[in-house]
């Protein structure tokens, strides 16, 4: 019951942020030099056709009218029509969404599977060789720009060894997953480094806590102590960090989809910005904003289930 009320309250709090973001996106798009009609026509510009197109797109109406028209359509689930693809934006964004979401899922799984054991190892063996090696790797991970890492993986595994495709994402589900391995790892790369460092320092902090010594003195097995006592408590701060990284991954996907030629929402955004495809840009940015807000909400809920000391809706600053 308490949880439900908290979730409801948080969802209600999201609404003003969403509205302000929508207004900001709308105004930002109208500030872009050039307009959608101009971008659609390309090089050959016939003044009459241009004027007619402007009229048809509603660009001659006041900003306010344009905004209300957009919001009312949005409320009815109509995101408009793409001027580049000539199809409804909702369908376009939905079909591109699955690529980006799948990419993010692959990246998150890779981050967790690689970073947790390594971070734990470094923390448990603080100051010894594994710790030094893992910390050095993590530092390198932080310093390497992801677009460069992506290109290097592409050169080695795509071009030289030809194990993975260099562009596109295939047709079957199997092909999808296969072609998401390199981009997924690229996207995970920086996060792996950040999470390793975080898990390490948490483990170092927790491993000397009183309750861990108590568990040891009770004669619990090393495994029970490391999973039930150390890892569980060390992972609470990591959860928040991981969610922040998921939001960071949305940013990263824009670049990585571009490098690996993936038809995701990030590459759609870049394309739409250069093509002045207003409706598409607005929809893409809105989708990114909604995902961000939802991820934040889920984090807070997860946080409370991991740590019972945190009361729902307790002190919000």
């Amino acid at each position: 019951m308490e949880t439900l009320r908290y979730v409801l309250k948080r969802v209600l709090q999201m609404i003003p942020v969403l509205i302000v973001s929508a207004i900001a996106i709308f105004l930002l798009m109208r500030l872009l030099p050039g307009d959608a009609a101009l971008a659609t026509l390309g090089d050959k510009i016939d003044p009459e056709v241009y004027a007619a197109l402007r009229e048809e797109m509603g660009l001659n109406q006041s900003l306010w009218t344009q905004f209300t028209v957009w919001v009312f359509a949005l409320a009815q689930g109509d995101l408009g029509t793409s001027v580049i693809y000539k199809i409804p934006v909702a369908g376009l964004v939905a079909s591109r969404m699955q690529v980006t979401v799948l990419l993010a899922v692959v990246a998150v799984v890779m981050t967790v599977v690689i970073a947790l054991p390594l971070g734990y190892l470094a923390g448990a063996k603080k100051g010894k060789l594994p710790d030094v090696v893992v910390r050095l790797l993590a530092l390198l991970g932080l310093a390497a720009p992801s677009f460069w890492v992506g290109l290097m993986l592409l050169i080695v595994f795509g071009v030289r060894l030809a194990i993975f495709p260099t562009s596109g994402w295939g047709k079957t589900m199997g092909e999808h997953f296969w072609s998401l391995i390199l981009p997924g790892f690229t996207l995970a790369f920086a996060s792996i480094a950040v999470i390793i460092r975080n898990v390490r320092s948490n483990v170092v902090e927790v491993r000397n806590a009183d309750y861990v010594s108590f568990g040891r003195s009770k004669g619990l097995s090393a495994w029970a102590i490391s999973t039930g006592y150390i890892l569980r408590n060390a992972l609470i701060p990591t959860t928040t960090l991981l969610s922040m990284r998921i939001i960071g991954m949305l940013s990263g996907s824009v670049v990585i989809e571009n490098i690996f030629g993936l038809p995701g929402i990030g590459s759609l955004l870049v394309q739409a910005v250069t093509g002045r495809d207003y409706a598409v840009v607005q929809a893409c940015v809105l989708v990114f904003v909604i995902i961000t807000l939802v991820v934040n909400l889920l984090t807070d809920i997860l946080y409370t289930t991991l740590d019972h000391r945190i009361k729902l809706g307790g002190n919000e600053a």
Partner: protein, 295 residues
């Protein structure tokens, strides 16, 4: 006046005393090797940025059609690209611009964001509540998405790139400083300063700021790298520094079309970025060890 100030300062002495006791007699390279290594790399990068001509005798903008796509050799350490540009020379000359972008992009948010956090945390109230909602909106936009939108509006170019970085990177500073100010506000030295009748401005900048700024400074070191990376990323997408200006991201982007024939165009400049990034990260880690006495 000066006696009052020293009394107020005396109250924060224990913290400083602890830091000194911890590192007493231990040379700095033993206390924090990462700080020393990081500082050396950053310093070396600054020297390269200041005097690029000392490190290469070639011209970064000299087209040489006879020497296109040559692999690395003693004459061309990093090989040449499809225009016959010497990649090493361009990387060297790009250092100044990239460093400048990093420092300029992170510097302004550091100052403005920290000051805002200080004011919000100290006064609280309606302004603080309003600013926190503004922060929520900014944080709701993925970093790169907002940066791309801003560069698209303002157009390509170094100045616009830096402005885009300003817009996207201030919130963490405000958050960090605000959170620390909220804690510091209740501490004894602030109460003492209040009792002594100091003005809000004086308490904020003379008493609270020196005690809360360290986390912001540590973040600044990593933020400079992030700004260099983000700016390079935008250039890589064709939304940043216009060609043929040498810039790391743009140079790496130039090799995008030649990954199967001329790997060196993208690979080697990236290595330089890794080393520079490593330098700033180590510096940040070292500052963290030194400035924060928590552990």
């Amino acid at each position: 006046m000066s006696a009052d100030a020293s009394t107020a300062r005396g109250l924060k002495m224990p913290e400083k005393g602890k830091a000194k006791a911890k590192g007493k007699g231990v040379p700095i390279w033993r206390r924090s090797p990462s700080l020393v290594i990081g500082a050396v790399i950053v310093l070396a990068t600054c020297v390269v940025a200041a005097f690029p001509s000392l490190f290469t005798s070639q011209d970064p903008l000299a087209l040489n059609p006879k020497e296109m796509l040559l692999p690395p050799s003693p004459q061309h350490l990093f090989g040449t690209d499809n225009f016959g540009y010497d990649v090493f020379t361009r990387v060297i000359y790009a250092t100044r611009l990239d460093l400048l972008i990093g420092v300029a992009s992170a510097g302004m948010p550091f100052l403005v964001g920290s000051a805002l956090g200080l004011v919000c945390g100290y006064y609280g109230g309606k302004f603080d509540a309003f600013m926190m909602r503004v922060l929520d909106v900014f944080m709701a936009f993925p970093f790169m998405v907002l940066a791309i939108a801003i560069v698209a509006i303002l157009g390509n170019g170094v100045t616009n790139l830096i402005i885009a970085m300003w817009v996207v990177s201030w919130p963490p500073y405000t958050r960090l400083v605000r959170a620390e100010v909220l804690i510091a506000k209740g501490s004894e030295y602030v109460q003492a300063a209040r009792t002594l009748g100091y003005s809000d401005l004086k308490i904020m900048f003379r008493h609270i700021l020196p005690n809360v700024i360290s986390s912001s400074i540590v973040y600044l070191a990593s933020d400079i790298v992030m700004c260099i990376m983000s700016a390079a990323t935008l250039s890589f997408l064709g939304l940043g520094v216009p060609s043929p200006t040498p810039e790391w991201g743009a140079i790496i982007s130039g090799g995008k079309g030649f990954i199967s024939t001329a790997w060196w165009i993208s690979a080697l400049p990236g290595l330089v970025m890794v080393v520079v990034g490593l330098g700033f990260s180590l510096l940040g880690d070292g500052l963290n060890d030194l400035l924060r006495t928590r552990d």
